[in-house]
Symmetry: C2
Subunit: 534 residues, 2 copies
Amino acid sequence: MQKRRRKFYGWGYEGEEVSNDEIAGFEKAWTRLLGVTGFEPVPFPSAEMIRLRAPRIAVPESLKSICTVDHRERLYHTYGASTIDVARAIRGEFDNPPDVVAYPDSEDDIVALFRWCEDANLAAVPYGGGTSVVGGVNPPTHDRYRGVVTIDMQNFDKVLEIDQTSQAARIQAGVLGPHLEQQLKASGLTLRFFLQAWEFSSLGGWIATRAAGHFATAYTQIDDHVESLRVVTPAGNIESRRFPVSGAGPNPDRMFLGSEGALGIITEAWVKLHRRPTHRRMTSVRFADYDRAVEAVRVISQSGLNPSNARLVEREEAEYTGSSDGTYDILVLGFESADHPVDVWMQRALEICGDFGGQWNDNALKDNDVGRDASAKSWRDKFLRGPALREHAIARGVMRETMETAITWDRFARLREHVKAETHRAIKEVTGRPGSVTCRFTHIYPDGPAPYFTWFAYGDKRRIPEQYMAIKQIAEQSMVDAGGTVTHHHALGRDHRPWYDKERPELFCSALRAAKQTFDPHAILNPGILFDPS
Amino acid sequence: MQKRRRKFYGWGYEGEEVSNDEIAGFEKAWTRLLGVTGFEPVPFPSAEMIRLRAPRIAVPESLKSICTVDHRERLYHTYGASTIDVARAIRGEFDNPPDVVAYPDSEDDIVALFRWCEDANLAAVPYGGGTSVVGGVNPPTHDRYRGVVTIDMQNFDKVLEIDQTSQAARIQAGVLGPHLEQQLKASGLTLRFFLQAWEFSSLGGWIATRAAGHFATAYTQIDDHVESLRVVTPAGNIESRRFPVSGAGPNPDRMFLGSEGALGIITEAWVKLHRRPTHRRMTSVRFADYDRAVEAVRVISQSGLNPSNARLVEREEAEYTGSSDGTYDILVLGFESADHPVDVWMQRALEICGDFGGQWNDNALKDNDVGRDASAKSWRDKFLRGPALREHAIARGVMRETMETAITWDRFARLREHVKAETHRAIKEVTGRPGSVTCRFTHIYPDGPAPYFTWFAYGDKRRIPEQYMAIKQIAEQSMVDAGGTVTHHHALGRDHRPWYDKERPELFCSALRAAKQTFDPHAILNPGILFDPS
């Protein structure tokens, strides 16, 4: 059973409600953004009122101690955390819940669950923190399976070993962000992998989905932190050796980074850590000309300065988060180090900004308190509250979607223009009214940015899933048409499959299928992820 | 045919001989190192005196224009550049030459060659620059093949496209280091991937073997430079999309990085480039205590300063290269940037060195001329001449082997001690006399160094291959026993297979086999690489 009960239709723990004041603040922002006069939310569902399909399968005696068919557990594990998931949950639609939820305590438990799934022809859905926004943890609907068992990894939650000298740790994959950092704290080391869903996502989830953390450069993806993995597959266990790097053949870990539970369940990993930063500088730079701001960020990305933050936020989005009056774009720029003062780094980065017309407040640079810059703080606060507000937005007919990509610098301007135009068009067509589409950079690389698009639309609060999907289809397609990858860090799940199917080389997919056949000969693992079962 | 004829038994182009003076200088060093009084070299072989097995296969009419059975071509393509290769060549042993050497001009040519190999049951050996030191390009001996065709990629030698904005280029995979840089020169961009074999190794070879360049941190492996690949496999072509990074499923490029020609032939790649550095600082730091020097380097590796050079050279090796009088270890430390002066970076790194007893000459830091530091220059000059001296050493009974690994910091001291002890023991047992075994760092990571061991032994110049293999067996085993990877950047080839077979997870190998079956259903490509044909 869940250690602490999470809401089955939205974000966070039961009982942790967003205050009326905070909702009122957001309502005001949405009103302004979408030209709506007021909101009347639909009510959230209660678990008692939802009728679930009876479990289609019986749990074998030997597995009863780690399995449950509890009503709330099945409700909770029906969905991830995407807008469409939450919108369906709010409508009370739980048509395809897992039949059973399992909480293994050991690798042997996982193996026993795999055996059961193979023997009984069940699909097994690995489950970390449940924050997928792409349909990665939703039970599949393929009718070749007699039922679905969701394997929740929450009990794999320990930091097993810390290597202070090499700054690395061996950690169980089911641990969520806060509990991971809490266990590392005494060591002075930290993974510092602060993605938006940090509180409710797991190390194994980050690895399986190739998540990206808050570092804008250098250590962007979890890929960059993995030293070695342990993976339990239906065909046996895989443990890679722990090296800083190796040149011995194709890297085994890279087959599981991005495998999204389709090839095995990651049970533990050695990951590289950082010392907690002691020197920090953060500021926000204002730009009157967006194209020149992009140029500044490009030059910074190619400078070798490696800022920890470099989030270029368009004026429209900056206005929404209260970081701009709407007449300028802002670049949230930060440096941090556990080794040396970073003033020289910041000064050079600002000099580059100045070359392209950027302006900043010198006072914000005078002390080590990164919370001093009001624009940066305002942006960050809104950012962190995003997931908690999702269900409240949806209940009011406000659709908010984020889609991220990565593209080389030479093609970025065209991509942004195309995505914004197409998404505006889609919103208008689907909802009959204008919406908002904005772009920011979450991560930057010497050869290109990771643009992150946010769109808002005001729809019919009874038809959110349908309207949302209609807009998303067009928006995603525009991003891919313009040359971007279908995902920089939200992963594929089932929702991104149509675009992934075109992005990945066909023959590579055949090789992946062959690899899956090796690891998972009965095709029980997360069917529909990466490719469909044949 | 080769554009410019290379020596078939050693390093470099025909006619480019090492001067007697240079050889005399090295002889003096070897004399001192190995306690030998003088050398009498065996002569190098002449091509005319070597009889080759007649080609076992006839070239089909349609392929005659791109194939040759020329005597010298077959001699030249019989070996790579390892000590054992050169020693066998000097003994005139060419028992297993390729039957045919092919020079495709296009991907269609490669496909036609694959069809021929499949139909006639031939092994196809992809060939880049021929500098493998691990038996990666030697024709296989498996008797299931009727013959061997070496596919030399030298005609794929063009830079096809340069993206100045994103600092990247699309480049054909057969191009060698100098020709690649020459074509980039006008753009002001550079790959700056200066490995020791740079002059005679190819981009495709670097990618296929996961080579490492001269950057000590950040951009160490070619892996870090690849945006996308084109690969021709017997089952069809694969082209990955060009993104700075993507989170969409397992990365297809990572399956070919390290595939060493066993899964397909890489024909082109988009690679990330750098601007040519305009700011440089380099110096050498002297340490009286080796363990403290290691600590200094560890702290630097974890500082985020990212030096371009950080080569810690043991005193014995530094004395051999004339960079030390043998009483201190040296750290060759360098920073470079195309964006900003690097003095602050260097100062902080030196401060760290000072914390651990390092000493340096402040004068060396005063100007931008990296050649100013005499110790660093002396070390570098000897390093670059290494490959050219190999055949001359072998002809004199001097065996020189380098083996590299990577290991986390916590296990490094034990590894070094064990490898040195075991290799010394092996040299004594095999040759009856003491040799030299030294260690340096070629690359450093926050979680551990890439130690590079060099051993010298004076053997029987008629029995070098046998003696060399006997020593190498023990030396490699000691490295792996102590927890190091079998290779950081020399790759696997056929020579490292025994250790690789234990290092890689067995089940991962099964998945690789399945992938190979997809790409290469007739198992024609480089058999024996990664695993044996079943």
